[in-house]
């Protein structure tokens, strides 16, 4: 190892290990003192003193403050297929704080495994004693009462998990400069422990489907010997090679084809037979493979499409939960949704081979949604200046013609303006030009004039520009308006603006007045007579001079009371005239009657002329009249239909909301009569109408 050097910004030092001198656990510190004489002859020993010491370390759960970062980011989507997932821990000794097996002091006890959907099941909260494979006992104190575990078959361990000797290679310590924000990323001491996974998450190129993965930081304590014992390696791999999918065994018999063909029966014994003894992992794997080949399990392509459709909902659901859940519950709920695709009781499904449990300290899921990675994304970017229309690719020869675009072709001018629909204040729908702050060429700013002043708009309309083609250019007016609204949306800004205006502009006004006073010659003489200071002098003079010529200083005086408006009907006989004109009888007759019995009685006794028709029946006859009547009936039926069922004893109507709308719309049109919903009243003409309509409605079927 090179001699320790100082790390500088932008550099880092990799170290293989940070092994703590004491592993986690309970220790007894014994102190013994032997007392000797001066000539070294022993006198005796002081009684030994034992002190108990516990070195604690996470075991089933990673404390949140120990996690610095993980890659790929949790719940992210991206092209990660040529990168190994990793987790960075703040405490450099963490991966070596426990012994995965007695005596294995240099082997890390943590491993990062990456599993695809269906390869293993992640439990919910379980008491820690149940978080390890039955039979394995982890002695010593536990950090938490409940934890999660990954339940996994021998096949998956052999295919996916790292080998025992690989663990040490997958953990290292990185030393960075604490002040290097890019590398240290908020660490306190500049030493970080990194655990790398051994699996490249793959993208489904054949079906172009994203694949979801879960990365789990597992504890291999006590189970070091159970780790992968794979066959010899080969060069290359197939990105869609099927590892294992327990969900295939849990397929409910909902597929009618399978039921009819009876293939369910062949699959069932696999699930039903509970043969615990399956020691040879590879043998069991082979048997499972055979069963999978015999039973028409869903093909891998079908699988991935299922996973993809689920992914679409899962990622969104995780985000949804993260945004909506209450603060206390968010962590638990997000993890719960993340388990989608990893849920299920694996141990009940898999009976032909042994299943194992590994405590999971931390887990997160991510989705591989493309191939190539960052480099290919950046190389594939469409580069241009803002204002560039997307490239139109000519359709290949023989392709069906493209359907017409639902919107008109975009108008992007060379000046950077965009044609947008504009609803004017008068309601006209026109098109206007708009250019945002992001232009395709440099622009100039207003330059100050000779006095050093700049033009300043006070309302947005001052910035509207009309263009020779008859449209308006609203770019700057829109900018002004959104600036105004943004300022108004923040009370603190409004307050600051008003305070600035009140305090500082006020002060500058005072300073100006002071400048004027200095030059006024009269002031000096006046001040000689002042006894109580300038303020009193000024105020007294102001009041006195104002009192001398109030009309000039303040305003002309206003009469105390305005003459009232003349009431035309207050004159003698005016009211009679109004009423008689309204009802069409003679005013003179009322005037005469009133002499004796008073106005009210006179009005009551006066006959109101009523026009009478010669016949009882309708004025109109014939087909035309029938048509009108039918129309009226239909309208009445329609308008009253809903009111009918709501009549209450006593003749009143319950005027609920629906009732009110009907009445309003039906009777008055836009100026509908609105009725007081609560007043009880006697049946009136409308009620009669309603009653008739309801009777007719009852007869309707016969009449048709």
């Amino acid at each position: 190892m090179p001699p320790p050097t100082l790390v500088t910004t932008g550099h880092f030092i990799l170290r293989p290990m940070a092994n703590p001198p004491l592993k986690a656990g309970d220790y007894t510190l014994t102190g013994a003192v032997d007392v000797n004489k001066a000539d070294d002859t022993p006198v005796g020993a002081v009684q030994a003193q034992a002190t108990h010491l516990r070195i604690s370390s996470p075991r089933f759960q990673l404390p949140p403050e120990q996690l610095l970062s993980c890659f790929p980011p949790a719940n992210s989507e991206g092209a990660y297929e040529n990168r190994l997932p990793q987790i960075v821990l703040k405490r450099r000794t963490l991966p070596w704080e426990r012994e995965p097996a007695p005596g294995a002091t240099t082997t890390p006890w943590l491993a990062l495994v990456v599993i695809a959907e269906g390869e293993a099941a992640l439990s919910g909260d379980t008491p820690v004693a149940g978080c390890v494979t039955p039979g394995v006992v982890l002695t010593g104190p536990s950090d938490v009462a409940t934890g999660n575990y990954l339940s996994v078959t021998r096949t998956v361990i052999d295919k996916v998990f790292p080998k025992k000797e690989e663990l040490a290679l997958l953990c290292h310590v990185r030393e960075v400069d604490v002040n290097d924000t890019e590398l240290a990323n908020g660490d306190d001491d500049g030493f970080l422990a990194t655990v790398i996974a051994n699996r490249l998450p793959q993208f489904d190129r054949t079906n172009n489907k994203p694949v979801r993965y879960m990365a789990c930081l597992i504890n291999v304590e006590g189970q070091l010997e159970e780790l992968a014992k794979p066959p010899p390696p080969v060069v290359g791999f197939h990105a869609l090679a099927e590892v294992f999918d327990y969900r295939a065994m849990a397929v409910p018999s909902g597929d009618p084809d399978r039921l009819v063909m009876g293939t369910v029966a062949s699959a069932k014994p696999v699930v039903a037979v509970r043969s615990r003894a399956a020691p040879g992992g590879s043998v069991a794997a082979a048997r499972i493979d055979k069963v999978a080949a015999a039973a028409p399990a869903p093909s891998s392509s079908k699988h991935s499409s299922g996973a993809a459709s689920q992914w679409q909902t899962t990622t969104q659901r995780i985000e949804q939960v993260a945004l909506t859940a209450s603060e206390n519950e968010a962590g638990r709920l997000v993890r719960d949704v993340m388990l989608e695709g990893y849920r299920g009781n694996l141990e009940h499904l898999i009976t032909l081979e042994r299943t194992y449990r590994f405590p999971v300290l931390q887990h997160w899921s991510f989705t591989v949604s493309g191939s190539g990675g960052f480099e290919s994304l950046m190389r594939g970017l469409d580069v241009g200046l803002l204002g560039t229309a997307p490239e139109v690719h000519p359709p290949p020869p023989g392709a069906p013609p493209k359907p017409a675009e639902p919107r008109p072709a975009p108008e992007f001018t060379e000046t950077g303006h965009v044609g947008l629909p504009h609803l004017t204040r008068r309601g006209d729908r026109v098109r206007a030009w708009y250019r945002g702050p992001l232009g395709s060429f440099p622009t100039t700013r207003d330059a100050p004039d000779v006095q050093g002043r700049l033009p300043l708009a006070h309302v947005s309309d001052q910035l509207r520009r009309s263009v020779p083609d008859g449209r308006e250019d609203l770019s700057l007016a829109a900018a002004f308006e959104i600036g105004r609204l943004l300022a108004l949306s923040q009370p603190s800004v409004v307050r600051a603006l008003l305070a600035w205006r009140a305090e500082q502009f006020g002060a500058s006004r005072a300073a100006q007045i002071l400048g004027l006073l200095k030059d006024a010659p009269k002031i000096g003489a006046l001040l000689k007579n002042a006894k109580n200071g300038l303020a009193e002098l000024l105020s007294r003079h102001l009041v006195l001079s104002a009192a001398e010529k109030p009309g000039k200083v303040l305003a002309p005086t206003r009469p105390v009371v305005d003459p009232g408006r003349e009431l035309p009907y207050a004159k003698e006989g005016g009211l009679d005239k109004l009423i008689s004109e309204g009802f069409g009888f003679s005013a003179a007759q009322v005037g005469k009657l009133r002499q004796g019995i008073g106005t009210v009685a006179a009005l009551q006794r006066t006959e109101v002329p009523v026009v009478s028709t010669a016949q009882d029946g309708p004025v109109l006859r014939g087909a035309e009249a029938d048509r009108l009547r039918a129309g009226l009936d239909a309208a009445v039926d329609r308008l009253t239909a809903n009111s009918i069922g709501q009549q209450v004893p006593g003749g009143g109507l319950t005027h609920g909301l629906s009732d009110l709308t009907h009445v309003t719309v039906g009777l008055g049109g836009p100026r509908g009569r609105r009725r007081n919903a609560s007043t009880e009243r006697a049946p009136d003409a409308l009620d009669d109408l309603l009653a008739r309509a309801s009777a007719r409605k009852g007869r309707m079927p016969e009449s048709k």
């Binding site: 910004t9 880092f12 990799l14 040529n82 295919k159 290679l169 290292h172 990185r174 002040n179 924000t181 890019e182 990323n185 490249l200 793959q202 054949t206 390696p233 060069v235 290359g236 197939h238 990105a239 869609l240 090679a241 590892v243 994304l377 950046m378 970017l381 580069v383 200046l385 803002l386 560039t388 229309a389 997307p390 992007f412 001018t413 945002g436 702050p437 992001l438 232009g439 440099p442 622009t443 700049l454 300043l456 006070h458 263009v467 083609d469 900018a479 002004f480 959104i482 600036g483 943004l486 300022a487 923040q490 600051a496 500058s508 002071l514 200095k518 000689k528 002042a530 200071g533 300038l534």
Partner: protein
């Protein structure tokens, strides 16, 4: 009794007004006394950098920013000035307010220009001072933004020679300061530069250094299945940390576990790297040496690299649907 002279009155009046004066000028710790109060200056400068402005005001048509695209632009100072004028108009009530504001506006604009550079100050960097110039930037809409949070963007006024790993502080005169860099949406990033850069670098985030391999399609002889992949890695000299050579074909094939997609045989890979003499790895390879071999340096995309294309034809980078000629004609017709 003391006679009250005009001098006394003046002194009293001046003293009274002087009491108001501290509020008249905002004493800024780095700029000195300023007219606009500090909080307001900061807010106006952030507004000037388009903070809070709805996205549809920036990119008025979705077709201006298609998926997987980067669009460069010049910031229209007239537009952002109008934005500030709109914000200032909030406090004006009567015409005397407006007259006073109009008299002061030139100073307000200068002070906000100055403040603009202080909005985004990375730790340990000094505020740049000087007249406000042109501002440019880009909008990037890509999965690279959503998948790689914390991209590094650097802009320079000339192509830099020297090693790629050279650290150039933000205060370096060759480097253009970033006025703003923000993700507006999960996959949309807005960056503003203080000036018009010649070269722009976008780099993969360095936080959490990454480990990985290079994937290559593998022909199996039976056909071309894009899912048949081979993993390769370029060996590095463990003593220097540099690649052993520059030959792209001299790669070490990464052994994989049979029947499993993407699972690498770390132990065997380590062995394959160790037997190469030029890696200078010790007999007992430790995890640090192994990590060095697997380290992937962040990818850096360079825009405006003169070695690639001196100046692309304008038609490649700017394709409006209505040319200036057509626009002029429509103006003349109406």
């Amino acid at each position: 009794m003391k006679t009250f002279s005009s001098t006394h009155a003046m002194e009293a009046a001046v003293a009274a007004i002087k009491e108001v004066q501290p509020g008249r000028q905002d004493d800024d710790p780095s700029f000195g006394p300023r007219v606009v109060p500090g909080e307001l200056r900061g807010w106006l400068a952030r507004l000037r950098l388009l903070q809070g402005v709805p996205f549809s005001y920036l990119v008025p048509d979705a077709e201006l920013l298609p998926r997987e695209s980067i669009r460069f632009f010049y910031l229209d100072r007239a537009w952002t000035d109008a934005l500030v004028q709109g914000a200032l108009s909030v406090g004006t009530v009567n015409s005397s307010d407006r007259a006073e504001l109009a008299a002061l506006y030139a100073r307000v604009r200068d002070e906000v220009d100055e403040e603009e550079r202080r909005v985004r100050l990375p730790g340990g960097e000094k505020v740049q001072q000087g007249a406000a110039g042109a501002v440019s930037g880009f909008v990037l809409r890509s999965r690279a933004v959503s998948g790689w949070p914390g991209l590094h963007v650097r802009a320079y006024d000339r192509e830099l020679g020297g090693p790629d790993a050279a650290q150039i502080p933000e205060s370096d005169p060759r480097r253009m300061k970033l006025l703003r860099m923000e993700r507006l949406a999960p996959a949309v990033m807005l960056v503003l530069f203080d000036g018009v850069p010649a070269v722009v670098h976008i780099e993969e985030p360095r936080q959490g250094i990454q480990f990985g391999v290079r994937l290559k399609p593998m022909s199996t002889g039976t056909g071309t299945d894009p899912n048949n992949l081979q993993a390769l890695t370029k060996p590095r000299n463990a003593l220097t940390g540099e690649d052993v050579n520059t030959n792209d074909n001299d790669m070490v094939a990464v052994p994989c576990r049979p029947g499993t997609p993407g699972v690498l045989d770390i132990a065997k890979l380590n062995e394959a790297l160790r037997v190469r003499a030029d890696t200078h790895m010790g007999a007992a390879v430790d995890s640090a040496e192994f990590a060095l071999q697997m380290l992937r340096f962040p990818y850096r995309q360079v825009f405006g690299d003169p070695s690639v294309n001196a100046s692309p034809p304008m038609v490649d980078v700017f394709r409006p649907t209505i040319s200036l000629k057509v626009l002029k004609q429509s103006f003349l017709q109406s």
